[in-house]
């Protein structure tokens, strides 16, 4: 599904190249649950952003579902990730002006799905996540765990093949974190959703089927 070959990414700082990612080779198959571990600044987020096509890279090849991402135009890339990738963030990144329902609905708006279909899909997911009672609340009225739950629901609503989660439990207490991780595990095993998560925590990493350790932008063997 994902095939990264010799990916390098750097920034120029005072004439020196500072490598954020160095010679990354990674192959992810559909249905995998991968945890990326590493200390702060090791390049976890950068790698996720590259995979999520939110960020560009300097050198290398990236094939996503057989498409050469490094050769695609911005618009095509956007089309690609919009329909196949869902994102979950450490800071949830919900839109404060929209209700829970509307937040979850938003990705569907961008995929031109008609109103009645949207309603059905969102209702379905609200039901599944047990947050029907909260659908008319605004994000600031929810606890962190609940916000992240909405975040995951939103990431899933468009039925993506891949979920990228950047420290999804970073802002949550351990109980809330565990619930989210359980949810991921369930999604992975029951819905065959591929998940790549970045995390600090060994415990959370253990939910994954495979652990990749990053240090200074390199994958440690």
């Amino acid at each position: 599904m994902i095939d990264l070959k010799h990916i390098n990414k750097w920034v120029n700082s005072g004439g020196n190249r500072v490598f954020l990612l160095r010679d990354i080779n990674l192959n992810v198959n559909e249905g995998e649950f991968i945890s990326i571990m590493g200390p702060s600044g090791s390049g976890k987020s950068t790698l996720l952003n590259v995979i999520g096509m939110l960020d560009e890279f300097g050198e290398g090849e990236y094939n996503f579902l057989g498409q050469p991402v490094h050769q695609l135009k911005e618009k095509q890339r956007s089309q690609l990730y919009k329909s196949h990738i869902g994102f979950v963030f450490q800071a949830y990144h919900l839109i404060d002006e929209l209700t829970v329902y509307e937040n979850i609905e938003t990705p569907l708006l961008y995929q031109n799905i008609n109103t009645s279909n949207r309603r059905a899909i969102v209702a379905d997911i609200l039901d599944r996540f047990n947050i029907v009672g909260k659908k008319d609340l605004f994000p600031p009225q929810l606890s962190g765990g609940q916000q992240q739950l909405v975040g995951v629901a939103r990431a899933l609503v468009a039925k993506p093949k891949l979920i990228l989660a950047d420290e999804p439990t970073g802002n949550l207490n351990s109980k809330q974190g565990e619930e989210i991780m359980e949810l991921f595990k369930q999604l992975n095993s029951e819905d065959r959703v591929t998940i790549i998560q970045a995390t600090h925590s060994e415990r959370n990493a253990a939910y994954g089927s495979k652990i990749i350790n990053l240090l200074d932008g390199r994958i440690e063997k």
Partner: protein, 808 residues
């Protein structure tokens, strides 16, 4: 999708109430001012266009340069209309108006004075589109002694009775009574004439006089469709040749060629009807004309105002962008593409503009009476009368919304999601240039308006306090005392005997306001062919003392000297023009009178120049002759005189003396001030606009300061941790904006100087624009800007640095 956008728009407006308020308020003020001005401009431009033939009606006017005197008259001779129609096939119709002043009319058993009475040709209503409510437009005025009245007059005099066939007679027994043969709708406000009575010209003997030597008739031509009036105008010199020539020879014994050889010029010209209101500078006209320059100036201000409001909007929206950035980032990650975001933000601005428009309409409703009062206009916001107004306003919302929203929309939608979500929004360091430019532009206009206002007021102050060479304070002018007939002298004696009165002069020649006016062509000495154009004032022996004019040489007129009817007093300008810088007293001047005989006057005195015309004009040579004019009393009052009590007594005495009309009086200083009404109005209006512009610009600056402070929170935090004081941080933040304002000053000053220097050229006596005006304008705007900015700067500076540094 659309609903989602609307929802977001309203919710984010609500969440940022402060910002929204500033935004909407600024925009509403801009739109309101712009709309009011557009209404004014539209009204000015709409004059006379109600006539269905407006585009082919032309007024013929007469221009001349006779013995050094320039004439430009909107009236022409009686036969011009008929002649034009007969001589030129392209003239389809020619019609005339003879303004009849304010006759006294008798209707039933009551008499009224009416000031809107005209005689018109029978085809008048064929030329001008004034719909008839009763009667027939084609035949109403064919018979002599018929009159068509307006709806308003019909209601006023006849109420519910039918006015048709009623008789209106004149107080003047020489005039035959008129029968009412038609009632028309009121003449539109935006017409260059406002008569209420249109009497048939057929009964007016002077309309048939074949003279080409006197002109009293406003004459309008209807040309054939699509005929170029310039072609006709080119043929008009024939008219002078063919008709004026022979009569000139008869009257002056001079052929036209000889007359022209002396440098005299006579010519006819055509003026499109639609130009009459805005492009007229005739000494006499049917109504106070507008001024195309004001239309231009106001249009520019309207545009500026709208631009400033839009710029504000852009600045504030981009400033608020950091708040919206996260939303943009999330939306992008969720799959929104740029065009969708642009659409979303444009929709938001359009919603905001629509709200602003509603508030603007409220503002207009409130401000319109004030503006009407200031600008002597009669505007109203009438949705029913203008069905196009609503779609037009919607279009305005769309245009302003897109104009104001496009920059923020493109700016916001261009955020890179990763950057925003990592809250690494370096947020438009590059767009700071553009924003600064916009701020500079706003302040450029503010400063421009401040300087202009200051110069106008400075000039008005100068006018107010200029030593005029005569004393205008505490001078009462009693007009039309000739109405008292034989009781005039006793009335005058009554005034003189009042203890509150210092002195009284009898003269209709006033140094301020409308006045009698006589050109006087005289030669210095008796045997010289040199002719100098002067003005002649007929005064009595009290004129000089009553007005406090200073006698430089010689003596005043006196009843003791029987020879004084042949004496004159000159002003300095006249003495200089005659070549007698010193020792004018005792010299003689002469002229040939209308009967061809020579009149000789001896100079008995010279007075210091005084401003008997407005300060727009240079003091010209003036000759004062001794011939007590019985028409107007100039009354100098004591400094502590109780004026209301005095006028009460005078009014009473006046009606006892048998006058039919009430006493009309004025004060010389008021008459003087009224001369500069246009300038005063312009000053006031400019001042108001300057104030509004500054207010709106400051709203923008306030928002921008808030934005910068927010952007630099982290930097400010670090600086404070490193030991910067609140004052230092405040200074740092304020400095940036002051630089912008200074740049605006530097650009605005020369432009303002140039513009106002041009304006001042209209005055023969004027201030020179001194540096302090610029200094004052600059300091004012800097203080205002500083005040605005420092709010935010101080707020940012006293914030706890720990808070701002604790991100992530």
């Amino acid at each position: 999708m659309f609903r989602n956008y609307l929802k977001i728009a309203f919710r984010s407006l609500w969440r940022n109430k402060g910002f929204s308020l500033i935004n909407i308020l600024g925009l509403a003020i801009g739109i309101a001012v712009c709309l009011i001005i557009l209404m004014f401009v539209n009204n000015e431009l709409s004059y006379d266009r109600y006539n269905t033939k407006a585009d082919r009606i032309y007024r013929i006017y007469f221009q001349g340069d006779v013995q050094g005197e320039k004439l430009k008259e909107s009236t022409v001779m009686p036969p011009v209309a008929q002649t034009m129609k007969a001589d030129f096939p392209e003239v389809e119709e020619a019609t005339r108006i003879r303004d009849y002043g304010f006759p006294k009319l008798i209707i039933g058993d009551k008499s009224f004075r009416e000031d809107a009475f005209a005689f018109v040709d029978s085809n008048f209503f064929n030329v001008f589109t004034l719909p008839f409510l009763q009667g027939d437009a084609r035949t109403a005025l064919i018979e002599p002694n018929t009159v068509v009245i307006t709806e308003a007059v019909a209601g006023k005099y006849f109420g519910n009775r039918n006015p048709m066939g009623q008789i209106i007679s004149f107080n003047d027994k020489n005039k035959a009574p008129c029968k009412i043969t038609g009632v028309i709708e009121n003449v539109p406000v935006n017409s260059h004439f406002h008569f209420d009575f249109f009497a048939s010209m057929a009964g007016l003997p002077e309309s048939k006089v074949p003279t080409w030597m006197s002109s009293n008739f406003y004459t309008y031509l209807v040309l054939r469709k699509d005929f170029d009036y310039m072609k006709l105008e080119a043929k008009l010199p024939n008219l002078v040749e063919k008709y004026i020539g022979p009569q000139l020879f008869k009257a002056m014994g001079m052929t036209l060629a000889e007359f022209k050889g002396k440098g005299n010029v006579l010519s006819f010209h055509l003026q499109p009807l639609t130009d009459v209101h805005l492009h007229s500078d005739f000494a006499n006209d049917l109504s106070q004309p507008g001024d195309i320059r004001y239309v231009y100036i106001f249009s520019a201000i309207a545009l500026f105002m709208l631009l400033i409001a839009c710029i504000n909007f852009m600045n504030l929206s981009t400033a608020a962008a950091s708040k919206r950035a996260r939303e943009v980032g999330i939306r992008k990650v969720l799959g929104s593409r740029k065009p969708e975001l642009i659409r979303q933000f444009l929709l938001e601005t359009i919603v905001i503009t629509a709200i602003a428009l509603l508030i603007a309409i409220l503002f207009i409703k409130l401000a319109l009476p004030v503006f009407n009062n200031l600008a002597s206009q009669n505007l109203e916001l009438n949705f029913a009368a203008y069905p196009l107004l609503i779609p037009l306003l919607l279009l305005l919302v769309l245009v302003v919304g897109v104009l104001a929203g496009s920059y923020p929309a493109f700016y916001l939608s261009s955020f890179k999601p990763v950057m925003v979500l990592k809250s690494k929004i370096t947020g438009g360091r590059k767009s700071i240039g553009l924003r600064s430019g916009l701020v500079v532009f706003q302040f450029f206009i503010s400063i421009l308006l401040i300087v202009c206002t200051l110069v106008v007021y400075n000039q008005l102050f100068y006018i107010q306090h200029k030593k005029l060479g005569y004393d205008k304070d505490k001078v009462l002018v009693l007009q039309n005392t000739w109405m008292l007939n034989k009781n005039q002298d006793s009335f005058r004696q009554f005034v003189i005997n009042d203890p509150r009165v210092v002195s009284v002069s009898c003269s209709g020649y006033l140094p301020a306001g409308s006045s009698n006016n006589n050109n006087f062509f005289v030669s210095p000495g008796e045997n010289t062919s040199q002719v100098i154009k002067t003005l002649r004032y007929d005064v009595d022996e009290n004129y000089i003392s009553t007005l406090g004019i200073q006698l430089l040489e010689g003596r005043n007129f006196s009843k003791q000297f029987s020879t004084d009817s042949g004496s004159v007093i000159l002003n300095e300008a006249a003495a200089v023009a005659f070549g007698w810088r010193k020792g004018a007293v005792g010299k003689t001047i002469s002229r040939i009178n209308n009967e061809g005989r020579k009149e000789v006057y001896s100079v008995i005195g010279v007075v210091r120049d005084f401003h008997f015309r407005s300060l727009h004009e240079r003091i010209s040579p003036l000759v004062m002759a001794f011939s007590p004019d019985q028409g107007t009393l100039i009354v100098k009052l004591r400094a502590n005189a109780d004026i209301p009590a005095l006028t009460e007594i005078l009014k009473k005495r006046w009606s006892e003396a048998g006058a039919e009309d009430p006493l009309s009086y004025s004060f010389l200083d008021e008459r003087y001030n009224n001369t500069y009404k246009t300038e005063q109005k312009m000053g006031l209006i400019l001042g108001i606009f300057a104030g509004l512009t500054i207010f709106v610009a400051c709203l923008g600056l306030f928002g921008l300061a808030k934005f910068t402070a927010a952007q630099r929170t982290k930097e400010i935090g670090i600086r404070k941790v490193l030991g910067a004081s609140v004052a230092q941080v405040t200074g740092m933040l304020s400095k940036e904006f002051l630089v912008l304002v200074l740049v605006a000053c530097v650009i605005a000053f020369p432009v303002a100087w140039w513009a106002m220097n041009n304006w001042l050229q209209d005055f023969a006596y004027r201030i020179s624009i001194s540096w302090w005006i610029f200094a004052l304008a600059g300091v004012t705007i800097i203080l205002i800007a500083l005040f605005t900015v420092s709010f935010q700067a101080i707020k940012a500076a006293i914030a706890n640095p720990v808070k701002s540094l604790r991100t992530e």
